[in-house]
Amino acid sequence: MKIDKKEKAVVVIGSGPGGAQVAYQLTKQGIPVVLLEAGRRIMKEEYVNEEWPAFSQMAWLDKRTMSGNARIVKDFNGLPTWLVKAVGGTATHWAGATPRFLDYEWKTKSTYGSVDGATLMDWPIDGKEMKPYYVKAEDAIGSTHRGGRPPLPANNNYKVFAEGAKRVGYKFYATGPYGTNAAPYDGRPASIQDGFNFQGDKNGSKWNPNVSEIPKALATGKLELRTNSQAVQITTDSSGKADGVLYMDTKTKALHRQEAKVICVAGNSIETPRLFLMSASSRFPNGLANSSDQVGRNYMRHLTGSVYATFDKPVNFFRGETMAGFLADEVKHNPKRGFVGGYYLETLALGPSFLGAFLDPGKWGKKFADMMDGYQNMAGMWIVGEDMPQANNRITLGSAKDAFGLPAPNVHFDDHPNDTAMRNHAYEKGEAIYKAVGATQTYRVTPYPHTHNLGSMRMSAKAKDGVVDKWGRCHDVKNLFVSDGSVMTTGAACNPTLTITALAIRQGEYLADQLKKGNV
C-alpha cells in the first residue's frame, strides 16, 4: 500500500528482527505502517555463497570509529560490528541459535549483587511475563527442538564438539535450539546442509524477516516498505511528541519527511542511539528522550571469542549448518568460577577466507600458517556469554563524518575484568573439549566484529535509570518506541535474536491495542 508522506502514519525504522516483527504485528491487525529501511531488499536468489563477496553485498560499511581498551578497538577500528544494511537487517547474517533468557537473567542486580564498574540493573519485566512471548517467538522463527519441531542432524563439526563435551563430563549438548528448519515449516523448506547461513541462506530454510515477516506483512496490504531510506532525524511538535521522521534516499541523497503519529525505532544498538542523538533540539538539548543521560550508554556486545582446534584426521567442519551445536553446561551463574553470569559454547565454522582474517588479527608467521594449513582437520566453536554493562561503554557522535556529512558514531568499548575472567574460563573449557578428542593444536581466537550488539537504550522501571519503559516506550516521549536489542537492560548469556523477537511481538500487540483504544 502507498501511504502519503503528509499522513500522520505509524512509522517503523529498521526492518530487522525487531522492526519487521512490530510492523507485522501491527499490519496483521489492520494498522497501516510505513517501514523505513536504510538498505535495499536482497532476495534470496541474489545471496552469494562466498564469504567476501557476500560481506560486500550486505554489510553495513558506513563510517564508524572505535575507542577503548578492548582488543577489537585496535584490530578492527573501522568496523566495530558486523551488521547488515538490507531488508531483514542483521538477521540476514545471523547463524540461528535461539536460547531463552534464564529466569534470573532478568534480575541480574538482585542475583549477582553489585559488581565494581558494572551498571547491573534488574529489568522491569521478568521471565514469567515473557514466557508466552518466547513460545510465540520460537513458533515465529521455527526453532528446532521446540514446539514439536525436530532437531537438525549432526554434522562433522558437531560430532567433534559433542563427543568432546561428553568426554569432559558435560551433559547439555544438542544441535539446537536453532532457527533453521530441520523439516519444512511455515512455507520454508528443510535445510539442505548447504551452510552459508552467514551469507543469507539461499535455500530459505533459515528464518529471517526477509523471508517471513516482511512477505507476510506485505500480504496484509497494510505495509509500505520504503527501501534505501535511512532515517536521519526524528522531529517533535510543540508539546514534545514525535511528529515526523526525516529520512534520506541513500541513492539520490534527497531528504524526505514522513509525518508520524507513532514512531518505532529499530536500527540496532549503534544506529538507534545515533538517531536519537542526531535528533537533539532546543527542547531536547542532549538528544531526544535523553533526560536520563542514558541514550547510548551501557552498550554490550556479549562476551564472545572462539576456540579452534586441529586433529590428525579430517573433520571438514565447513559442511552443513553453520552453528547447529549447542552446549549449556556453563551457562548457570556460579561465582565460584571467579566471575558472575555464564556462557554457552556453540559450534561455528568459517571458510578459509574469513578464518584468515579472524583467527588472529594482525598475526603472521609460521605458527599462524600452520594452524591455517590444518584447515581440513579443523573444528571450531564460538563463546557466547553475558558481558557486563558499563556506563562508559557507549555510542556517541564522533567528530568524523560519514559519506552523507552526518556525524559518524563512535563506539567506546572497554573489557570489564569479569568479561576477561569469563572468556579465559571459556577458552580453557573449549580447549579441554577438543583435547578430550585428540586435538593436536588449539587456538584461542579473540572477539571480532559480530552481530550481538545490545543495550545503549536500556529499559528501566524509573525514568531516571534508562531510556524506555517496560513496553519499550520512551520515558520522555510517549509516542516514541524502541523495538530492537538496544532496549536490553542486561544481555544475559544467550544469543539475543529470540528475545528481540519476543519483545517485539509483545510490543506490537501492546501498541496495536493502544492504537485501537486511541491511547497513543
Binding site: 577500528n77 554434522n155 546442509q193 571467579g338 578459509p352 591455517m372 581440513q376
Partner: protein, 189 residues
C-alpha cells in the same frame, strides 16, 4: 577520532581492503614495475604466511594485488617504494626463512609492511587454489547441498546425541535468585 592510513591497513584494513579492491585510481608512475619486483614481493608474502604446499604462482598472484594497492595513491606509492627498496638492498629473497622472519619483524611497524600483510592475509586465504589445496569445497547450493554421508562423514568418533538431555529443562529452570544470593564471588580480578 581519526584513523590513520596505517591503522586502517593493519586492522580493519583486512576487511575493508576487500571492498576497496576494485577502486584503484589510474597511476602515472608505477611502483614495483621492474623485472623481479613481483617475485620479490611474492617472497615476502610467502615469508609472512609460509605454506610448503602452495606453489609460488599463488604467492605471485597475491603479490600482484599488493603491488596494485601500492600504486593506489601517492601515499601508498612512496611507502611502497621505500619498502621494496629495503627488500632489494637486503636481498630479502635470498635470505633463509629465519633471517626473513627477523627482517620482517624489524619493519613490522612500517606502512609498507601493513599494506603487504593486510592484503596478503585476505587475498591468500581467499585464493581459489588455496581453497582447493585446503580441501575447502565451499558452496554446495547448486548441487543440492551437502548430502547425507558428506556433511556427516566423520567416522573416527561415535555418533552423538542430537536431542537435548532430559534434565536440561530442570537445569535451566532451577534459577531462583535466592540460591545464588548466598554464593559469594571469589575475586580473581
Amino acid at each position: 577520532m581519526k584513523i590513520t592510513r596505517r591503522e586502517l591497513l593493519i586492522s580493519a584494513g583486512s576487511l575493508l581492503a576487500y571492498s576497496q579492491l576494485g577502486s584503484l585510481a589510474n597511476a602515472e608512475v608505477n611502483i614495483a614495475a621492474q623485472p623481479g619486483d613481483q617475485e620479490m614481493i611474492a617472497s615476502m608474502c610467502k615469508a609472512l604466511y609460509p605454506h610448503d604446499r602452495f606453489p609460488m604462482s599463488i604467492y605471485m598472484d597475491v603479490a600482484a594485488g599488493a603491488i596494485k594497492k601500492g600504486n593506489a595513491d601517492t601515499g601508498a606509492k612512496i611507502s611502497f617504494r621505500a619498502g621494496l627498496d629495503g627488500l632489494k638492498i637486503n636481498k630479502f629473497d635470498k635470505m633463509n626463512f629465519k633471517k626473513q622472519t627477523k627482517y620482517l619483524k624489524s619493519i613490522e611497524n612500517t606502512p609498507f609492511f601493513g599494506l603487504v600483510r593486510g592484503h596478503t592475509v585476505v587475498a591468500l586465504y581467499d585464493h581459489k587454489e588455496v581453497h582447493k589445496i585446503f580441501g575447502y569445497q565451499g558452496a554446495s547450493f547448486d548441487k543440492g547441498g551437502y548430502k547425507d554421508g558428506e556433511y556427516n562423514d566423520l567416522s573416527w568418533l561415535p555418533e552423538p546425541r542430537i536431542e537435548e538431555h532430559p534434565d536440561l529443562t530442570a537445569f535451566l529452570d532451577d534459577s531462583s535468585p535466592k540460591k545464588y544470593a548466598s554464593l559469594k564471588i571469589k575475586k580473581t580480578f
